[in-house]
Amino acid sequence: MIELPFFLEVKGEDLFGIVAVPDESSGQTAATLLPAGGYTFSPQRNGWGTRLTRSLAASGVAALRFDWHGIGDSSGRAGNFALDQPFADDALAVVDMARAEGWKRHLLVGHCFGARTALAIAPRVDGLGGVALVSPPVRDHARGEGGANRLAYDIGTAGYLRTAAGKFRWRALSDPAERRRYLRLARSFVRIRLGALKRRVQQIGGSGVDPVPWVSRPMLDQLSWLTDRGVPVLFVYGDEENDFAEFGEARQGRLGEILEKHADTIRIEVVPGSVHGMDRTDTQDRVLEVVTAWASEVTERTPLKFS
């Protein structure tokens, strides 16, 4: 295996990444690791990102890790990480570069925000061979605002406003970033409550009620798109994380139907710990094993398709 660093221009900024190339030159498959949203560089905690891409390369799959714009060695500013606003341009540019270098089949391996980005770009990836979703959140919210999102659904307007008043800090208004955050939370709250009102009206009108209205509709549409085309999908969650609990609840709705209908192409793996935080090394190791084994399997199983 050799590793080759690269810079790649995307919309005026340079993304930094490294491609791990297997010794076997006949390999046709490349996997791109789409990192979680946040201010951590592509090797990630305890070198998890580095180890995963090297492990994939050792199994014969070329693997790319990279920093989002504004993160690690890339240039620019990251801005806000919102799950419904994935960094599609960054991800597609890396995938396109791999394709231009000769890897015709592509696997996407996304972690949290990266998983949601993988789902969002999947329809635009030629030769897509599979998508591994490592702890994908099933809600839409900005980074660090999952708790506020849950409250907006769960406790109603009065409770939400009481909680918000308790957490509000006048001093924070002097900080432009905090002001923007408050504004985002307010907008998100209004959107969620209007949605609830709409559902109540539909219910009165006799329409069916979605038992889990907070589940991201774009995410479900994207997952449907993949599974309808027979693209293998791997979900990996940790048994100690909130995202897994929410994934379980979300199965009461449309997600459950999709999973049931496509049980032959969707695999769900649950490992000990929190995959979202990767805050235990045994969790990291287990995820690495699961993803590497899945990548080898789908690479062998799925015939190379060209679109």
Binding site: E3, L4, P5, F6, F7, L8, E9, D14, F16, I18, V19, V21, S25, S26, G27, Q28, G38, Y39, T40, F41, S42, P43, R45, N46, G47, T50, G70, I71, G72, D73, S75, R77, A78, G79, N80, M97, A100, E101, G102, W103, K104, R143, G144, A177, E178, R181, G277, M278, D279, R280, T281, D282, T283, Q284
Partner: protein, 290 residues
């Protein structure tokens, strides 16, 4: 069959400063060089480790870009066994880190020739930077919140793990780190694997000894405590000044939680953080004086 050769671009040029950044491997050591058109100084950065490396990483990238824009050639590197570098993390030790730092200085000197050199180290990287600077005639030494004693690193790691355990639902306290390192050879500290070889190599390390006897310019930056350097750092500054080192002490306003996972300042870009702005400014100003 894959037919095209890999021909990807391992460099970038900043359109506003004209600085070129080159990424690559020097043997198994991953490094990024920031090269201005006519460098008149060379600066090598020695990172901290584990969670502290992640926390400081973008700050080091921004510092390198700023210094390069102001005429310094800069080399950042990952110690073997960490980040993008090759090598087993179980072999990482203070000695291998110092070897990597010296190799980085030689590598950068090979690119830019004989210009004044400065070495910057953060936290445990401060111990590395001190030892590296001692090997380079008249090199300046910049230290961001350095560890004065190597043994403090494992103590702080253990304290951070204990603090996390308090918030765990299980309420289980982790066993003493030293004990685990002896019996297992490594330990999981907040999702970072720490090996016995590193712990052993840090046990007796002292900044005052590693820095050598040859007086040189030293910048001591302390995160937090705007009223002056505190405790061990204040004593170190006095000690060095007494034996002829030109010490510049720069306490900064904001404190930093080092041995914790990045994410404290969740909504802030690194270049918006007051501590980062201040550290970059005081370091760039100090480098100008060399």
């Amino acid at each position: 069959m894959r037919t095209t050769a890999v021909a990807i671009r391992p460099w970038r040029r900043d359109p506003t400063t004209g600085v070129t950044e080159e990424a690559g491997f020097d043997d198994s050591r991953f490094a990024v060089l920031h090269l201005p058109t006519r460098p008149h100084r060379a600066v090598v950065l020695c990172s901290p480790l584990h969670a502290e490396m992640q926390r400081n990483y973008r700050r080091e990238v921004l510092l390198s870009r700023r210094l390069a824009a102001e005429g310094s050639a800069v080399e950042r590197f990952h110690y073997r066994g960490t980040g993008n570098s090759a090598g087993g993390p179980d072999r990482l030790a203070l000695e291998t880190m110092i070897e990597d730092g010296i190799a980085a200085v030689r590598h950068l000197q090979g690119r830019v020739g004989e210009v004044p050199v400065a070495v910057l180290g953060t936290r445990v990287g401060g111990l590395v930077a001190a030892a590296v600077a001692a090997e380079v005639e008249a090199a300046g030494l910049a230290l961001w919140q350095p560890l004065v004693k190597g043994s403090a690193y494992m103590r702080e790691a253990e304290r951070a793990a204990m603090a996390r355990a308090i918030t765990n639902t299980s309420g289980e306290r982790p066993p003493p780190l030293r004990e685990v390192l002896v019996t297992e050879g490594s330990a999981d500290v907040l999702g970072e694997r720490v090996y016995a070889a590193l712990a052993a190599s840090l046990e007796e390390a002292q900044l005052a000894k590693l820095i050598g006897e040859q007086p040189r310019p030293v910048l001591l930056a302390q995160a937090g405590g705007p009223d002056g350097l505190r405790g061990e750092l204040a004593r170190l500054a006095d000690e060095l000044a007494t034996v002829g080192f030109a010490v510049t002490a720069r306490p900064t306003g904001d404190a930093e939680v080092w041995w914790a996972n990045p994410g404290g300042d969740l909504f802030r870009e690194e270049d918006d953080k007051p501590l980062t702005v201040e550290l970059l400014r005081v370091t760039a100003d100090w480098v100008e004086t060399l």
